[in-house]
Symmetry: C2
Subunit: 339 residues, 2 copies
DNA sequence: TTGAAAGCGCTACCAG
DNA sequence: CTGGTAGCGCTTTCAA
């Protein structure tokens, strides 16, 4: 419900104030107002500094909001930002969507999300977006590192396509990657286990960066970690290894995933090496229920919401001709009962 | 990368085929093509059936996709669909987003998501969207039943605003509500517990519909359920109640939420009433890790993805002048170790 | 430094 | 039933 304004000059019939309305109010032409209000003016878009300030003021008062559709229609494309995410219905993806949506909403950018898990899906998505000449793309191609995909990405970026990649192994010029610092996450797990006085160390499951960070932190302390698979067999072996733990010198276990961590708990349940005392356990992801398990799970939280925000901000800047560098985001440890 | 076409008549310079391209190819005027391709033609938009089929064919071959921004710009609004969801970073919300995004993407509708938990946020969202004259809104106002919100909703719908509400207590003419059948969910929990031979029954936590369904299924079987709060005190009382269970005649517990279910597990841990034998436990929501706890949790799955799909489809139909009824979606039981 | 005018892709109105 | 034309809100030549 729009508040009725005392001054009715240049107020729109319905909806929000547009360029035309601001122009009417200021008495300037639409062109000038457009240029003054454009945060990313093109070369020949010169406006007197004084005029710009004035227009900016009036526009602010009138609650001007640029119509992105019209902006990009004129520019020969579609305002919509394409988002490609893995189809995992968990808090990680939800957080990512929160972050992206938050800044896109603030900037009045619409989006279109596509969910899929595989490289093939990502390629389809790119083709689709190329044709639509979307203003830009944020994508989380699930750690894809595939030459065909790489070609497709390059193709997309050759024209006006702008792209930000999330947590991927792909490295391309002019395509900034926003990623989680997985090695740091692994280090954090090791450091917590070290600090809590563990005598022996295990890592369960495969995840390059996390494992690497874990081992290197251990090495820094003159210790060594043992590797176990996440399959039933590996877990069985881990369970028997854990019998060597005591309250004094617990065994420290790092599961590269919360899911794996819960499987470790299960493998250990019923035995006499209890998680939280004889065995200290750290997971990774901070999924929904990790705070409610018994014992509650110490885990590495990944700030996906922040990652989403950064990606969206970078993309918008890119679209308007800016330049962006890759960035690494630090996870943080959430200490609970299990370690 | 668009495939090069043998026939180059009416192929667009770049991007996808538009109305103009189809017109060029068929030799018809843009107006006719527009009407032929419009699935929701206005009153006076009459086209020869023969023409329509032909155009439809050609358009299909050319890979025509309507530019929604332009369509709605002309219609005096913005194509973007506003989506308002609770800011809960869990699989429920993720699933909802999946479902909505899936159909919107297929229909080339862009969207804008806003996350908030409270009625106040929803009102801000509506105001914002009213001004933007969004083509429509899907909202999950977190079970709100607030006269102020109701007024705002009515106001929004008075004009061209179209809206679909999710899981809300609000009931308004012309605003279809897509909701989960919570009573049925409660019934399912009771029936599972009955079937597994429980002798006594408890429900933990407050949630009207779910409780009601639970009790009524129990009543149908000539049984009665005891209510417990979800706070520490209530859980303590529940734990002592559960000591009455045996393998033969277990106590059946229905937690109205998975989180509560895990708290029940914790309250019972260490005692001699074990979940899965002396105590049978059913949760609600089927969150991320419920399949991995020990014992794994039997729970009621809510098909939020399907709910999202339905809501989006209904909204689109509404936008084009269709009529839609409210609908109730059935949850389903996921049987695991705890019951 | 400013303004007028063309045009992005589409629909709606009005003539034929 | 079909075609021409105006115009949605904006950017971008091009002239003044």
């Amino acid at each position: 419900m729009r508040k009725t304004n005392v001054c009715s000059v240049g107020m729109p019939a319905r909806g929000i104030a547009g360029l035309k309305d601001v122009a009417a109010r200021t008495g300037l032409s639409v062109s000038v107002v457009s240029r003054a209000l454009n945060p990313h003016p093109d070369k020949n878009a010169r406006v007197a500094e004084e005029t710009r300030k004035w227009v900016l003021n009036v526009a602010g008062e009138m609650g001007f909001r640029r119509n992105r559709s019209a902006e990009f229609m004129k520019r020969g494309g579609v305002a919509t930002i394409g988002v490609f995410l893995p189809a995992s219905p968990n808090r990680l993806v939800a957080d990512l969507v929160f972050g992206i949506a938050e800044v896109l909403e603030a900037e009045d950018f619409p989006m279109q999300i596509s969910f899929d898990n595989f490289a093939e899906g990502f390629r389809r998505f790119l083709e689709h977006n190329m044709d639509l000449s979307h203003s830009g793309v944020i994508s989380y191609p699930s750690l894809v590192d595939d030459p065909k995909v790489e070609a497709e990405v390059k193709d997309y970026c050759r024209g006006k396509g702008r792209m930000v990649l999330l947590n991927t192994a792909l490295r391309l010029d002019d395509v900034p990657v926003v990623a989680m610092d997985e090695e740091l996450g692994g280090r954090m797990a090791a450091e917590q286990l070290l600090e809590r006085g563990c005598g022996q160390f295990c890592v369960v499951g495969k995840c390059m960066g996390r494992q690497k960070g874990f081992h290197s932190a251990l090495a820094d302390a003159g210790r060594k970690g043992n590797e176990f698979n996440g399959d039933p067999d590996g877990l069985k072996r881990l369970a028997s290894f854990c019998r060597g733990g005591s309250e004094d010198r617990p065994v420290g276990v790092f599961a590269v995933t919360d899911i794996l961590a819960l499987r470790v708990m299960r493998a250990l349940s019923g035995g006499d090496a209890r998680v939280g005392t004889e065995v200290l356990l750290v997971g990774y992801d901070d999924l929904d229920l990790t705070g409610e398990t018994t014992p509650s799970l110490t885990t590495i939280h990944q700030p996906f919401r922040e990652e989403g925000r950064m990606a969206a901000r970078k993309l918008i800047n890119l679209i308007y001709g800016g330049k962006e560098d890759p960035v690494l985001i630090s996870p943080r440890l959430v200490a609970r009962e299990s370690a």
